[in-house]
Symmetry: C2
Amino acid sequence: MNHIIRDTTVLTMNDRNEILERTDVVIENGIIAKIGPKAGETADNANIIDGSGKLVMPGLINCHCHVPMTLLRNYADDMDLQTWLFDHIFPVEDRLNEDDVYWGTLLGIMEMLSTGTTCFADMYYFMDSIASAVESSGIRAQLSRGQTCNEPGSDFSGNQAMKESEEFVRKWNGAADGRITAAMAPHAIYTCSPSYIQAIAEKAGKLGVPIHVHLDETVREHEDSLGTYGKTPAAHLYDLGLFDHKTIAAHCVCITVEDMALMKEKGVSVIHCPASNLKLASGIAPIPEAISAGLNVCIGTDGASSNNNLNMWEDMYLASIIHKGSKRDPKLITAAETLRMATVNGAKALGMSCVGSIREGNKADLIMVDLEKPHLKPMHNLCSALVYSAQGSDVCMTMVDGRILYQDGEFKTIDREKVDYHLEKVCKRLFE
Amino acid sequence: MNHIIRDTTVLTMNDRNEILERTDVVIENGIIAKIGPKAGETADNANIIDGSGKLVMPGLINCHCHVPMTLLRNYADDMDLQTWLFDHIFPVEDRLNEDDVYWGTLLGIMEMLSTGTTCFADMYYFMDSIASAVESSGIRAQLSRGQTCNEPGSDFSGNQAMKESEEFVRKWNGAADGRITAAMAPHAIYTCSPSYIQAIAEKAGKLGVPIHVHLDETVREHEDSLGTYGKTPAAHLYDLGLFDHKTIAAHCVCITVEDMALMKEKGVSVIHCPASNLKLASGIAPIPEAISAGLNVCIGTDGASSNNNLNMWEDMYLASIIHKGSKRDPKLITAAETLRMATVNGAKALGMSCVGSIREGNKADLIMVDLEKPHLKPMHNLCSALVYSAQGSDVCMTMVDGRILYQDGEFKTIDREKVDYHLEKVCKRLFE
């Protein structure tokens, strides 16, 4: 179906962060066909959407997530990382099956769509379940089977995760009309031996897919790396050749200025996950420094068990204010910069040049925000209002590939009652 | 009108943070008359509210605000404090009149009611306008005329702000069925001479009202105080006798352990304003230390020009995660502790023993939260869900003194279109 959004405001997120007023946006065959005042006056057979009092902007891109962990949302909080992970999270994850992962993913996708996320990068397991949920829900995603193996060796051809990863790439890369892309995901340097990381890098090269990795999330990871390898986690991955492949690196809490130079050289994108880093007490990533070093910085929520939601508006807000506060410099990371992290920078990180901004010819991955809320008035500055005042619930429409997936509280592709029904059954089995 | 909320979950915020399931809450004559399973089965002539899938909890108490500054929301951001204040905020504030303040206040009250705030403490000017808006909207507030005067002297009987302050106390303290209480407000140590602060303290004592003050908000205030008075801002106010009166102190970003002991001795409450402190780059207040020192800590949003909203859920979230992250200790400030700051601790700070918790005999200042949102599922832990996952928009009903002021997007006491109409006129005059 074609759509015309009439008489609206558009935050383009083009190179000049241009804002268009009183304009129409015409969407044809999943593409933003035309933008301009009265551009949508003559189109036939289109769904007309009144855009007055509303904003059209690019859909948000969540660059680091473990979506099925919605099942563990608020299951274990306010405790140290080791207790959290080993006593609470891992034991439940050991009991998960593909059915659990499917329903947990759909729940997470509902949350993401209702808060304006149109694309996410995920690393988990039972990836067929996640891909199926992405396919049926209509959202866009870069998916990867997280791999862990601390064995030494050179031949990992019999390694189960490696096999699953390769199968997943062959089956799903480019699927769902190109909405699903695949990546390889060495979990982290503390869960993967050097030779395993090299084997994954080699495989990624052969399959022609990018890399998604956790990098330097905690002081402990950083110090252990210095102790074991005599170098930082980033230098370790650089030397292993992982960064020779297009890479997104989540967290980067403890990266050094020297690491930034290595990452810049290889075009590694930094995924800032401020909510997770604060809540798990990992610390505050050196994001202003990373931006100064010329790195592409984007935003991720991480899983809902460490955030505890998948609401990009909250992470945008945090990304914009915590560096100001912790470094006592109010000019660090402006509202407009933050919006770029959550849109165009995310698209760049995931190699999706056709989304992340509102321009003719781009795929119609876009959202509408209701500007008529008391907390968005008066409207002195649109970018500030979106980052500092808005809530995720201000999103009133979410569209991917020109298809409306969420509008005014309703999910168009997901049966809410069915998800609730299965969720209850899943939780009974897992937790009772 | 009497109300019965049937078959609901209640977060009591009593001393044991008790949670009641499948219970009724009966509200009669503005008071929580009865709580218990089937307690509301036989009541006559009451408005029945279906509470299933919803939570009843105490209304949130915003202990530090300048509500009319909604007019300056997103007007000036991402700049240093001096430029922000002197080049942008003060020039507009100089042009404000009592009409502007009235409509700006109503806009702020709309935002507060829609996100579950039932009571706020405010410091501003044109206080009659603010009190009128509080009176007509039905919200509860402790109001004070902010006073500044850097003149020396001992007799401030001719001082305009002092006169207005006294008049305001005499006219409004206890007004609107007791929903309005008054306080005296020496703005800060850098805007008030020592003798002026002493005169305000003396007046507060005579009038029998408490104190609302900004305290040690920035490194500059702290260092200037050491330079000028040879002591910290808190020690300075202690020595001036201000703390001999019941005091709420906003910000406290730079208070020392010695300050905390002085404040504890006098029962001064600390108002944590994390969003404002981060966004204006003031820093991160030593809240875990203040709690350890036994101080009563509550939460404030500050004005919407430095936050940039009046959404207590965002400040609760920040209060709970920024200390974990900046001090790398995930056990600091649990979800339950945060909820106490925003409810019972706030009530204690403002001397309102009859609100802040859900118990029989208390005033019915309460809110309902819709638990059926995707981002609140599954429900493993109610306190965690409220602090780490919820949004302000999950509030579906706000009641003060037993009167519903907001429900499902509708304001019962405020004419939304009228506010919009006047707001447009006000902004035209102020900003064009």
